[in-house]
Assembly symmetry: C2
Homo-oligomer: 419 residues x 2
Amino acid sequence: MSFTDILIKQVELSGRKVDILLRDKLIAEISPHIECENARIICGKNKAVLPPFYNMHNHAAMTLLRSYADDMELFTWLSKHIWPIEAKMTPEDIYWGTRLACLEMIKSGTVFFNDMYWHQLEAVKAADEMGMRACVGLMYLEGENGEMLEYNERNNAMVMAAYPGFSELITLTLAPHAIYTVGEKRLRSIAAMSAEKNLKVHIHVAETAQEVADCKKAHNGMTPVEYLDSVGLVNERMVAAHCVHMSDYDLDLMARNKAVIAHMPCSNMKLNSGSFRWKAAHDAGCIVTIGTDGCASNNNLSMIEEMKFAALAAKREADSPTAAPAEQVFRAATVNGAQAFNFNAGVVAAGKAADLMLVNLNDTRLTGNNLIADMVYSADSSCIDSVICNGRVLMQNGSVADEDVIVTEVRKCIRRLVE
Amino acid sequence: MSFTDILIKQVELSGRKVDILLRDKLIAEISPHIECENARIICGKNKAVLPPFYNMHNHAAMTLLRSYADDMELFTWLSKHIWPIEAKMTPEDIYWGTRLACLEMIKSGTVFFNDMYWHQLEAVKAADEMGMRACVGLMYLEGENGEMLEYNERNNAMVMAAYPGFSELITLTLAPHAIYTVGEKRLRSIAAMSAEKNLKVHIHVAETAQEVADCKKAHNGMTPVEYLDSVGLVNERMVAAHCVHMSDYDLDLMARNKAVIAHMPCSNMKLNSGSFRWKAAHDAGCIVTIGTDGCASNNNLSMIEEMKFAALAAKREADSPTAAPAEQVFRAATVNGAQAFNFNAGVVAAGKAADLMLVNLNDTRLTGNNLIADMVYSADSSCIDSVICNGRVLMQNGSVADEDVIVTEVRKCIRRLVE
């Protein structure tokens, strides 16, 4: 793919009008006026430029299960509805489900997702075709006797055989599902592999009160975070999804070791998992990022909506309307995620990767007195005009390539699955 | 204004394809195939028809204060920020602020709002021009000695002089602000006037724990609902906004008397007012409806977003993921509100008022397995294609008349106000 220069003309950046030149996948220059021959021009009139979103926890192809089973107890939901239909999913389903997820994420301003699902090579293909950054997880799930599940083993072998031949925007994590589905021995070997290969470890942590109670019972009173620390996983390579039920000591452990928390407020509220301690986590110095979780428990992939839920749920949890101010929430959804994955991105500044979004200042939702507060508390996906990832325009004027094809193919997949 | 027949061709209604004929402001016929000469045709391909939303509590012109003061304690927010800027608002500000509110509501599928603000005749004019149903409140606010505030008295006189000359879609409520701003004597006279003139009474009730504590102290241990019942206001004409801090007895009183609860989850969470007891209210048989509150405490007017917050907050509050199922929440946002104001609307059926919206089934957010669950948990305003109110098309293909003019004028008003 060839990347021509892109010149965004007279767009609003932090309240002033600027020209922005994108060259070689980077933000090359930001000035009041830039001239550049042969650049593709994007008109910035009535638009503002912002960093885009980094979705830190997703099961992308679960778009196929949107609104398939709602308003249920967690175990009924999983065992009677989600697992049986997941067992029927083919690689093709995963491909189309992930393309739909990418489409939906791009339309709501997201350029990266941290994925944990199966048939990962299909997700790699889908993300690559859609032009997004992605991280797919090498999944670990054990059967009752501590053996790797057969399909899981086979899948991982395929992913390892293909990696690192992925596109430059797609990387790999080690993704042990959770402490209750992967045993101590394997967790220790994953910790060693993570250190050796410098790979992130993506894992569900302390999502429910039950998980914490079971962990304490099984592991000498240790919380899930203490237990994970004991096997060598709480470090700067850890991306811990959920972290709902955390002690002060857990938060301190995460902060001291620079482990990353991915917070999913909609999923936590919808499944009634509990309330993430946003303010306590920030007071402890934790790195807090935001994700959407999969569509079966959300039921969409909008980081904009997730920011509002994060901010409002945090106020209730901390019993204070001053908790989770808009700027802090916006950083969690943007630059914190980019930094957690070591992208040179998440801020609109010269020298950074050319990841950005343009928002439409003529949208009623963005007529407020503070653009960041408008984005967190007022905006929805209709405010997003254009999305650029690593110098490539993924959406312009609200339009993404192949939208109708993707929706049509996904509807076919869903019809076959739910038959 | 003349109303021609409208024929919506081959639109999805509850899973089957139908034609819908709108005539004389009513849904005249719904059949698999309808022929009608001279009707304006709306293509229903890849669209579904649903009842639109009825926003049961709003301070519409507060669109001017969006993102002006966020993340603050309630009293600081009101006294240092909201009241001083409201004091500067001119009738023209209210007119444009309300037009923007109408634009934003139409774009997110809303056809009615129950308003409580000042310079009401400007709101009447704005709603009328935008083609929406509205109810404006005759406001009552007392000074420290129980006298009506002067501007309030003057305003009410103007509204009374103009009423009932409003358009057929716009009516009046009596709107005593709250029990802590209007004394017992006046509340009793409002109750009498409501009975005599058959007017609804729109009032803030039990929004904060402080209000309940103060009420008990001042009124022999009575809760706000008990106190309002003692002055004759808890009846089928009451629309009680918030009702956050309610005892079982309060809920029972509301249910037995067919009083209407307007629930505003975003505002309650953002200001940390408390958690509405959704499940308990439904178990008690209360009439529960949904509103957005004003933009200063939300910060938008999307009933779609409000439904998701209502459903998810209810699950947390009731400590159960089965609380507030999608169908129940959708009814609260649609037919419950329409019925509460005695509109012959809120359901897509022959003989009902022609209030409806079309949603775009090609939107990724609506590709799920249940359209109502998709609307509650997944949709945002970008899914709304067309909105029809009382047989008049207010939006078609996502486009509303005068959008840019309204945004431009509102920006001018805001600049002047915040200077």
